[in-house]
C-alpha cells in the first residue's frame, strides 16, 4: 500500500517537474513548480517528517514561490524583449546541469551505501515521533544550538544585502 502511494506521488513529482521545464510561459512554470512542491510535501508526510512537510508548505509553496512570481511580473515579459540566448550561454547551462546531475547521483550513491546496516536509519523508520515539531525543537536547541544562532546572522546579512540592492537602484534613478 505504502509503496504504491509512494510511486504514484513520485511519478507526479517527476511529471510536474518536467512540466516546469517544458512550459513555454514562465508563469505556467511557476504554477507547476508550486504543484511539484506540493507533491514534495506529501513525500515528507509519508516519511512522517511533519515539521519539514509544513515548512516546505509554508516557506517554499507560500513564500519563495510568491517571490518568484514577483520577479516574473517585475520582468518585462513581452515577446519582443525576450533576450536571445547565445550559444555560449546555452553550452554553459548544459555543463552546469550535467555537473548538478553528477553531484546528485554521487550523493545518492553515497547515501545508499552508508544506509545499509546503519542502525540510525532503522531508528528513523521505527521512531514515529522523530519528525514532530516538539522533538525537532528539543534536538535543535540542545545539539544544534550554534548552527541555529549562526543562521540568524545569515538571515541578517541577506536582509542587509536586499536593502542595499534595492536602495542602489533608487539613487541611480534620482
Amino acid at each position: 500500500m505504502n509503496i504504491s502511494v509512494f510511486y504514484l506521488i513520485a511519478f507526479l513529482s517527476v511529471f510536474f517537474s518536467l512540466m516546469v521545464i517544458f512550459a513555454k510561459n514562465p508563469v505556467h512554470s511557476v504554477i507547476y513548480l508550486i504543484i511539484t512542491f506540493f507533491t514534495f510535501t506529501i513525500h515528507y508526510i509519508l516519511l512522517n517528517a511533519q515539521f519539514l512537510a509544513i515548512v516546505n508548505f509554508i516557506v517554499y509553496m507560500g513564500a519563495i514561490m510568491v517571490l518568484f512570481l514577483f520577479v516574473l511580473m517585475l520582468l518585462n515579459l513581452n515577446k519582443e524583449t525576450e533576450p536571445v540566448k547565445s550559444l555560449l550561454v546555452k553550452l554553459a547551462g548544459v555543463i552546469a546541469g550535467m555537473c548538478l546531475l553528477v553531484v546528485l547521483a554521487g550523493s545518492l550513491k553515497a547515501i545508499s551505501t552508508s544506509a545499509k546496516g546503519n542502525p540510525s536509519t532503522q531508528e528513523v523508520v521505527q521512531n514515529l515521533d522523530l519528525g514532530t515539531v516538539k522533538y525537532l525543537g528539543k534536538v535543535l536547541f540542545a545539539d544544534f544550538l550554534l548552527p541555529f544562532e549562526v543562521s540568524s546572522i545569515l538571515l541578517l546579512s541577506a536582509m542587509v544585502g536586499a536593502v542595499l540592492l534595492a536602495k542602489r537602484e533608487k539613487t541611480e534613478i534620482s
Binding site: I42, L74, K134, F141, S152, L155, L156, A162
Partner: protein, 123 residues
C-alpha cells in the same frame, strides 16, 4: 497529551481538496455551458475606464514591492525557526529564553537597519 498522528491523518485533507476541486471544476463547466456567448471586439479589450488602451500590462513595476517580498521570505524563515522553540519553551526555562532572545536580537538588528535605511518608506 499529544496525539500520535501519522500519514493517514493527513488523508482527509486530500479528500477535502478533491471535493473542493470537484466543486470548482463542476461550477466552472456549468457556467461555461449555460452562459450566453456574444463576443465583440470592443468587449474583449481590457477595461481601462473607457480610455483607449495604450500598450499592455506586461511592464515592470516599482522595486519596493519586490523588496517587501524578499524581506517577507526572510522573516518567514525566522518565524518558522521559532515554532519548534515556542512549543517546547516551558521545558527550556530561562536558558532557552535567552537563546531565543539572542536569535531575535540579531534579527531585530536587521529590522532596525531596514527601518533606519527607510527601505519600507513609500514615497
Amino acid at each position: 497529551m499529544e496525539a500520535q498522528s501519522s500519514a493517514v491523518n493527513y488523508l482527509p485533507i486530500i479528500f477535502q481538496m478533491l471535493v473542493a476541486i470537484g466543486f470548482v471544476v463542476g461550477t466552472m463547466f456549468v457556467t461555461h455551458l449555460i452562459g450566453p456567448k456574444r463576443k465583440t471586439k470592443d468587449k474583449l479589450t481590457p477595461f481601462e475606464s473607457g480610455i483607449e488602451v495604450v500598450g499592455n500590462a506586461r511592464q515592470p513595476f516599482s522595486i519596493k514591492y519586490f523588496l517587501v517580498a524578499i524581506l517577507f521570505v526572510l522573516f518567514d524563515v525566522e518565524v518558522i525557526f521559532m515554532y519548534p522553540w515556542a512549543v517546547n519553551f516551558r521545558e527550556f526555562g530561562w536558558q532557552g529564553l535567552i537563546e531565543m532572545f539572542i536569535f531575535m536580537g540579531t534579527l531585530l538588528l536587521g529590522f532596525i537597519y531596514i527601518i533606519k535605511k527607510r527601505a519600507l518608506d513609500w514615497d
